[in-house]
Symmetry: C4
Subunit: 237 residues, 4 copies
Amino acid sequence: MNSENRQYSEIRQRVLDANLSLPKYGLVTFTWGNVSEIDRQHNVIAIKPSGVEYDTMTVDDIVVVDLSGNILQGTLNPSSDTQTHIELYKAFPEIGGIVHTHSRHATIWAQAGLDIPALGTTHADYFYGNIPCTRPLTPGEIEHDYEKNTGLVIIEELQRRQIDPVAVPSAIISGHAPFCWGKDAVEAVHNAVVLEEVATMALGTRSLNAGIMLQQELSDKHYFRKHGQDAYYGQHK
Amino acid sequence: MNSENRQYSEIRQRVLDANLSLPKYGLVTFTWGNVSEIDRQHNVIAIKPSGVEYDTMTVDDIVVVDLSGNILQGTLNPSSDTQTHIELYKAFPEIGGIVHTHSRHATIWAQAGLDIPALGTTHADYFYGNIPCTRPLTPGEIEHDYEKNTGLVIIEELQRRQIDPVAVPSAIISGHAPFCWGKDAVEAVHNAVVLEEVATMALGTRSLNAGIMLQQELSDKHYFRKHGQDAYYGQHK
Amino acid sequence: MNSENRQYSEIRQRVLDANLSLPKYGLVTFTWGNVSEIDRQHNVIAIKPSGVEYDTMTVDDIVVVDLSGNILQGTLNPSSDTQTHIELYKAFPEIGGIVHTHSRHATIWAQAGLDIPALGTTHADYFYGNIPCTRPLTPGEIEHDYEKNTGLVIIEELQRRQIDPVAVPSAIISGHAPFCWGKDAVEAVHNAVVLEEVATMALGTRSLNAGIMLQQELSDKHYFRKHGQDAYYGQHK
Amino acid sequence: MNSENRQYSEIRQRVLDANLSLPKYGLVTFTWGNVSEIDRQHNVIAIKPSGVEYDTMTVDDIVVVDLSGNILQGTLNPSSDTQTHIELYKAFPEIGGIVHTHSRHATIWAQAGLDIPALGTTHADYFYGNIPCTRPLTPGEIEHDYEKNTGLVIIEELQRRQIDPVAVPSAIISGHAPFCWGKDAVEAVHNAVVLEEVATMALGTRSLNAGIMLQQELSDKHYFRKHGQDAYYGQHK
């Protein structure tokens, strides 16, 4: 192994592990889904290769690209969604890991073209307000630079609604599926698991009570009980 | 191990085991949920620590607190829901164990702000009548002493409806999730498993027949077939 | 082992195995559910004991009773539903095994007080027409001889609709749950698995298309492709 | 083993493996479902035997038939659906493998008599447009040559709508269940797994938003990103 390979061996291993956790959590079918992590010091991204089976994936299959998408390490094509990841990393400097899945219930909300509404404290523990659904892409955005535009429409939606990507670490793309993120690949996957759970609960809740919404005070309480300077949940204080 | 540690080693082991049964029964995700048990002789509660992974939890992680929430044993913070448990133990002297989860379908009913209706004999075997959903907490109750007030609103709801906490060993909190209880930690978890099952069935039942309710006579028959002096179910007579 | 114990050792073993298959197929929670088989030569029934854990159940726990419910073998109480089994065996001489579960989706239909409608060929392969939901029991039928009356209301429903219990080997009890049967305990459990699957599919189907019913010709074709003198499915010809 | 047996040993093994993958993917209950593959050089089909348990199935159980349904190898009856497979192979020369299941959600749509609508990119990645539901068979088509007519009604539906069976490798039969196909048995099973997933998502999506449809441009983009001369997904370029 040359020095360049050694340089990124740790991030590639973390990204491999995070990708392999997707089938373990029941978030993906076959080769679907992908996780990446960014090395902000060197401005490189380690990401899953496109269309490779999780069962046989090794650390050498993980591709390292720069922020223009040029391959720095690895012999396989990176995920076809690489340009989406790059745009999100460029726009959201606070985030360090991204995951894309077609997890069932989050995808149901995306296909319905609707925000995943904040309906309970499970949601509020992780997401401060609705998980936004983007507008549909235009035919032109689909035709040219589709994956890049998928990132841009997420960014546009958060900016238009003045949503902090740290407080709402996920968005769903109309007609498509969710992207989640976090401070690293592990946290992004963690958020993807929670997203699927709250999406499932929201579907059932709305079938019982179509008009219900979470109290704003309860959303504040649960979110800030776990996040920020006054957090008191867990052992981290 | 000093004598004080030995004193509570059995209750801590039982509480550990009961907590570890939550992921086994599919009731929790990540570190969510918590089980406690009370030692009525010494007025101490053993409870899960806050935000610790089930995979690595050991008996030493279980925290022993008194009824004011002071830590008597253990080096970790107790569950952030400890004050809720304390209020329930103080108000309901008949109960010995409490469990809190965000189990999927019970939480769906809580998020919908609706009682889990008694719709069948499965429900009636364990719960004598609807499982009550509390009123929403007021902004003031959320702002100050939130976890204590969560317990108080459960107590208020049962008292207002004159519900015996032994006959209906669960309540759901509007916008939040269920609490269950029993004579000890094992029975509380047992009731939490049944709660999730009856919540799931109730959701499907109401989608087929929005107005259906269980006959009162059937509720009486099944509940008293298993509980009280005339019970004849099982081997305990 | 004395000769009387040897006499029923085979049927008790079959009934044990059939009961243990219930949790394997995901049809029961905790100690719920029970399977029996009848020995028509000696007019005795082997049945699960009441309220015993599946994990620890042994062949010696299986209870042998006569058609009046008197215990011939075994030291435990038989299932509290024994009288229901007895009535069904007395009324339906063609059947040799019975299973009772609270399997989720069949119970949802029972709680809704509705027949499980014949909506597809999966249903028609096993059940010739709707799976009938009984009328609610009267307060008097619930108060006295409840379990016996549960059997009688199933028999009444089949007779009223002129349903052959061999062609429709299941019924659901209003507000309660299903009973299934077959030529022996294994076939009864097999039918209980299929019942749960068709109940699940029927719930989803009706949510998409509230008025749909299966063509009578398709019901005939699939049922008689597998049953009766012109059957050509499988290897049994 | 004689030379004739050796001749088809590879295709029989592939068909065995593909059949055994059905329970692994959760697509079948008991003996339900069947997979076949065609050898276009010799015009023979290897197919699952009728009504045999997956647990005990061996390569010797796989039946080889010609395109008239005559048994060339194997001692068991071939699947009762063999004539359906034969008609599809004759009509669609591009396909090499076929699978039939009663997978839950695809069957729900079939029972509802409705196309599985294209509602998201997960669908568009594999199926170019709605997955068609056939018209109901006529009483005459059910009475005589039912399995053959099941194939013919699928073919009729695709031809009437001018659907390319390579672009939409599945159809659902009104009141019955799906058939899927692909270039070989493995790809047919792969498509059956995806079909079940998109059918599940479509059911949830329609419950949230009854009128939603996928943008045509998104369907084009995702389908042609993975299929045809301009595909750029995966490692195959």
